[in-house]
Amino acid sequence: MIKLKEISKSYKVGPTTVRAVESVDLTIERGDMVSIVGHSGSGKTTLLSLMGGLTKPSTGRVLVDGTNIWTLSDREQSQLRNRRIGFAFQFSSLIPTLNAIDNVRLPATFSGALVNHGRATDLLELVGLKDRIHSLPGMLSGGEQRRVALARTLMNNPEIILADEPTGDLDEETEADILDIFRSINDKGVTIVIVTHSRAVASQAKKVLRMNKGHLEVNGD
């Protein structure tokens, strides 16, 4: 489903060139649940961004179902991200001026489809926030914001979910709730890649990959 071929990513920080990802070859199959672990600065988040087309590789190719996404136009790339990929970030990623339900509905507006209010409500119910649909992000706790963001990730029924520390700095109970959701959608065939520091989260994955100084080490199946 997702294939990275000889992918490298380097960028300049002042006079220094940082090699965030170096010569990574990786294949993620449909329905996989993969976790990527590693120290801070090992290149995990950069690798995840490369998979989702959020950053352009310095060298190499990113293939989604055989198509090199960097040969697509900006519009086609945007459609790919909108319709097939859901991102979950490690920080509160809600738009502060929109209430919970509007944040959840937002991806649907880019797809040109009719914004499905019912689905957005169902997703907020799934993450346990049906009673907070009109709350602005500033009125929600960190855990609640993360759950709203997760509902938004699921809005367009993505085939792939790329999650960057989705449970970072959350209490154990909320972390368990979110992992339950990930497991249940993975059971429905959705491919999930999670970058995490948490052993508990990593242990839920079918496959654990370790990043070390930009290189990928496969830990086991």
């Binding site: 959020l54 352009k56 900006d74 945007s78 929109l98 509007d102 509905r105 937002l106 507006t109 914004v115």
Partner: protein, 400 residues
Amino acid sequence: MRRLGLLYLAAQNLRRKPFRSFVTIAIVGLAAGTLFSATLLIGSVHQSLEVGMERLGADLLVMPEGSAESGETALITGTPTSFYMDESVFEQVKAIEDVEQASPQIFIESMISSQCCTGHVQIIGYDPETDFVVGPWLEDNLNRPLENREVVIGSLILANKGESVHFFGTDFDVAGVLDSTGMGADESVFMSMDAAYEMALNSQEKAETFLEIQPGQISSVLVKVAPGTTVEQVAQRIKAGVPGTMVMTANDLSQSVTDRLSGFLRGFFVLDAIVWVMSLLTIAAIFSMIVNERQREIGLLRAMGGSRRFVFRLMLTEALMMTAVGGLAGILVGGAGLFIFKAVITASLGVPYLWPPLWYFGMLMAGTLALAVVTGAIASLYPAVSSSRLEPYAAIRQGE
């Protein structure tokens, strides 16, 4: 269910920093308001000149030497004045080559005293035999000449048709009210010269203040030049052939008004240009700030499937909304300001004023609004382009 369209998202974004949005809108409003009101002022003055000169119906005015300033002011603003010359001037002017029509008038300044007069106005006596100014109006509206105890009044004289007005001990019936011109005619009272002489005669017995004019005295001669010649040529001939007079052309009057306006407007437009540049720079600076502040959000929108075009349009829409609101506010405030202070402005500048037709208002509003919106588009173009070019991952990381 509300649609999460561009307009909604842009409006929500503008509401997040209300003071900043208000300041930007206010600057654009100031620029649009000053431009709108200054242009409306020019348009109104020109409208008044056009209507006023058409009403005047003459190409040239011959007046006594030294009366240029007061005569001009009386014609433009209606400030009452009186000056006299011998009626032989009329005969001399009529005899000048290429003078097609000539008609004498007499100017009488009514007194402020209520016992004397209905108001402090310019009374103009015209000669029904030769007149081509009031006559055509009478033909169209009254179908008969004015009688000796009748007057036609300008639109700003406080009386209605059929009512009576009182000047120098004589009562006159108002036979009609002229349409508004914005010029001196609006504050003038027209009667036949015979009626004026009779009023002067009667004032000796009936009025507290005598009106001292004698039959045979006139104040001006209105001239229409023959086709095929120029107004300037005839003016030169009159100057050369009729000593003790000065000649004013319709162009002189327009030029005089333009001169009165130009000093004021020059400063106004310089100020306005500065405000426009300021608003352009302010919008550009504010949108550069917005792009920096919202890098992470822009990255997130891109990650969710927002295209570069969407981000570009979002930024542009925010700028256009602010400038459109600012432009509209400016037009409303500028228009209201001119409406309220019209009398003060026109009196201090000594210019005539007549609201232009609706189509002119519409065009001016549309033009001012378009300029405001174009300013917003130009100012936000670079920030909008640079925000759309942000790489989603870099934007998300830099915004953390």
